[in-house]
Amino acid sequence: MGKGGGMTADKSIASRVRALDVLAVLLFLVFPLGLVFHKIVRVGYDIQSLLPVETYKVSLSMTCTGHGDSLWVRTYLPQQDARVMLSAEKVASDLPGHLERFSDDNRIGEWHGGTIDGARSIRVEYTAYGQHVRYDLDAGIPVPGPPPERRDPFLAPTAAIQVDDADIGALAEKLAPTGSSLDAGLRAMHDYCQKLGYVDFKGETDALTALRLGEASCNGKSRLFVALARHQGLPARLVGGLILEPGVKRTSHQWAEVRVGPHWIPYCPTNGHVARIPANYLPLYHGDQVLFAHSTDINFRYKFAIERGSAIRPETMAKAGADPLNLLSIWTTFARAGIPLELLKVVLMIPLGALVIVILRNVIGLETFGTFLPALIAVASRDTGLGWGLVSFVALILLVFLVRLVIARFQLLHLPHMAILLTFVIIFILLIAVLGVRMGSLDLAKVSLFPLAIMAITTERFSIMVEEEGARRTIGVALMTVFSISACYFVMNALTFQILFMSFPELLLVVIFLDLWLGRWMGLRVLEYWRFRKLLAAH
């Protein structure tokens, strides 16, 4: 209450809880924050390593249209190595046959089907996290010079890599003389290729053509680089892959690698990377290959959709595994028990989602269907992404509204009425899933994973509210619910929060402290300032 007159009730609450207050501050604020402090200062938690790293979610979709013949499609799939981490790979297609095989260093995905008429789609999804790597070559290593025979395939000429050509040979010797420093020689070869003009040419350019024309696209420059290196006795190969950046792209990228001792050293003469590879280069195949191959006489199209995301640093997870004070250490135990890590992450975020709801309702004054429903819907939207989560929520609300209009005419009793609505919800979810698979959209198909119980509750709340408070108000509440879902989604999916709570689970006590504090806060809600604006102006 204000300074003027304290309400007696106010005072009695105050005296009763004063002793408890001290206890609450100690237990829910001093203790957890002390533990955090202890971990950082004494145990030596590295805050830097707790911050999430950038990842890319890649969705490759391929469509092929057959004309009654059998068809096949083949492409290269990425592989995890010391530099690139891959996760959440999903493959879906409506072609009957799929196999994966390894050839040389490469992983190949193949799809086939007999007598296919009409369009079919294939979708491959994965999340990639790469690191930037730089190699320091010892300046003392010499260029070996042209070998007596070229039996090593990485030294041998091919139709497009004309190692035997006299012009290429002369240029190679000039840039990297036999016996000179290999580091400087490779750099000179790289610089030469980089200085060639760049043309955005979709087709293939061989090494010699690149040299003669003095300009090339990425594959021409890389082939010339490989030809020069091979000529001087340096085993080299092409690498094809993706430059990961958000957006949709239909082009892949090629660069080169030179083998020095046991290492393949990357060079990208297109973008000027010498003995280093940026974090966002994702190799798909090694060697002079074509990324996509398919049976003739079909219409084939593809695109890569790339989204930026974030993930926990794998090193951090590995390190934290040994620390008993850290929830991350429980992860390994959980993983052994077959409990997905994602589940732990989500469960840990629910108290935070609940706190968001408390703020939205008690401080801002938003109304929502059900109390903690928005937080649960936000959890459910985790797989599909917020966009699809909201779309399916709104679509569902509309569906329930329309179905109600029709079955209201039957004047049914409450429970059978609800059972019918629930059945329609299930039919709707099935349709969406089927549609998703047909359209080759895994996201849409995943809507079917949207937990059914949550849907049923939503339906019921919505239905009751339309009946009791009218459609107009219900729509308003639906909008506020959509807003609340989004707010919960962003907070609960913020990796920073997830990592913070996993590293410092004691912060859950701080959440309780904030709930305690908000539970005693009696100020006007933000929206009440608007509701009582005339009253406020009159005083």
Binding site: M1, G2, G4, G5, G6, M7, T8, A9, D10, I13, N362, G365, Q411, L413, H414, L415, M418, I464, E467, E468, E469, G470, R473, R520, W521, M522, G523, L524, R525, E528, Y529, R531, F532, K534, L535, L536, A538, H539
Partner: protein, 300 residues
């Protein structure tokens, strides 16, 4: 510009007079009303038993139905009555209330002149018992006499029953308003459904201010009757009945709804354990400071 800014900065100070949902729930509802006693007020049939025992005037009960077997005989039971009101014991916001005003050969007529056959009335009572208006929980149906509306401001020609909401703390009236149904509210007396809220001076029973859909109004939008500055009939009786009704419950903070019957004077319709806050807008007066002062007095 500067003035607006200064006004903004003074808002939290001015807001101390206003009762928000947070303060209502924690200072008043939580403090004065024990949850275990809610059903005594929420259930209209149980509330009526308490009120009758305390000698508070309430509408006469014509029948009660608590099972489907009883409901099947509803038309028969109600045969003798030409007009009556059917209510769910646990309905909210006026939902499920059926007002029948006269009889014809085929059944009963409502305000709009629509026919309700005995079968339809039986069906309605079954729906109430099945919990259609109580979130699917089984419920009871209450049939009461229809009140005859005593002349109040601008209410003569309208369907629906106006009532007077009195907020009480330990039986002491704090704030009151007259709630007038409109065409927009479909005869219901709830402000958020489009009824008019008219503020009343507690001491004199004279109306002071009126709001309709969040805006101040001077005259009734349907009948054009003046709303402000009117003296309500039998005001001391209304307050006395409200106060006695409030004391009949083991609940300290209540919203008592009183109707004015032409024959019997004030009768209590129901008691609300969590009365709405819109009454502050109807009176252009904050409830928080008033409640605080009353709480101090009741202890002193």
């Amino acid at each position: 510009m500067l003035r607006t800014l200064i006004d903004m900065l003074r808002l939290p100070h001015r807001a101390q007079h206003v009762l928000g949902v947070n303060a209502r729930n924690r200072l008043l509802v939580r403090q004065y009303n024990q949850r275990k006693h809610y059903p005594l007020a929420d259930d209209k049939i149980r509330a009526k038993e308490l009120l009758l025992a305390a000698g508070v005037p309430v509408p006469r009960t014509l029948a009660e139905f608590s099972s489907l077997i009883e409901a099947l005989r509803a038309a028969e039971t109600l045969q003798a009555h030409a007009e009556f009101v059917v209510k769910p014991a646990n309905g909210r916001g006026g939902n499920g209330i059926l007002v029948l005003v006269g009889r014809t050969s085929g059944g009963w007529l409502d305000h709009g002149g629509r026919l309700h056959t005995p079968r339809a009335v039986t069906q309605h009572i079954s729906n109430i018992i099945f919990g259609n208006y109580a979130h699917g929980l089984s419920d009871r149906a209450l049939v009461e006499e229809r009140l005859v509306q005593a002349p109040l401001v601008g209410t003569q020609l309208l369907p629906g029953l106006p009532d007077i909401r009195v907020i009480t703390l330990r039986g002491v009236p704090l704030l009151s308003m007259l709630r007038l149904p409109t065409q927009r509210s479909h005869g219901k007396a709830n402000l958020h459904q489009g009824a008019i809220g008219v503020g009343i001076d507690l001491d004199t029973g004279r109306t002071t201010y009126a709001t309709f859909r969040g805006r101040p109004v001077e005259r009734h939008p349907d009948t054009d009757a003046p709303l402000v500055g009117q003296l309500l009939p039998r005001w001391p009786d209304v307050l006395d009945v409200a106060s006695r009704a409030a004391r009949a419950f083991p609940l300290g903070y209540l919203g008592i709804d009183v109707a004015l019957d032409a024959r019997r004077g004030p009768v209590v319709l129901e008691a609300n354990v969590r009365p709405g806050l819109e009454i502050q807008n109807a009176n252009l007066q904050g409830l928080r400071a008033i409640a605080a002062a009353a709480a101090d007095r009741s202890v002193a």
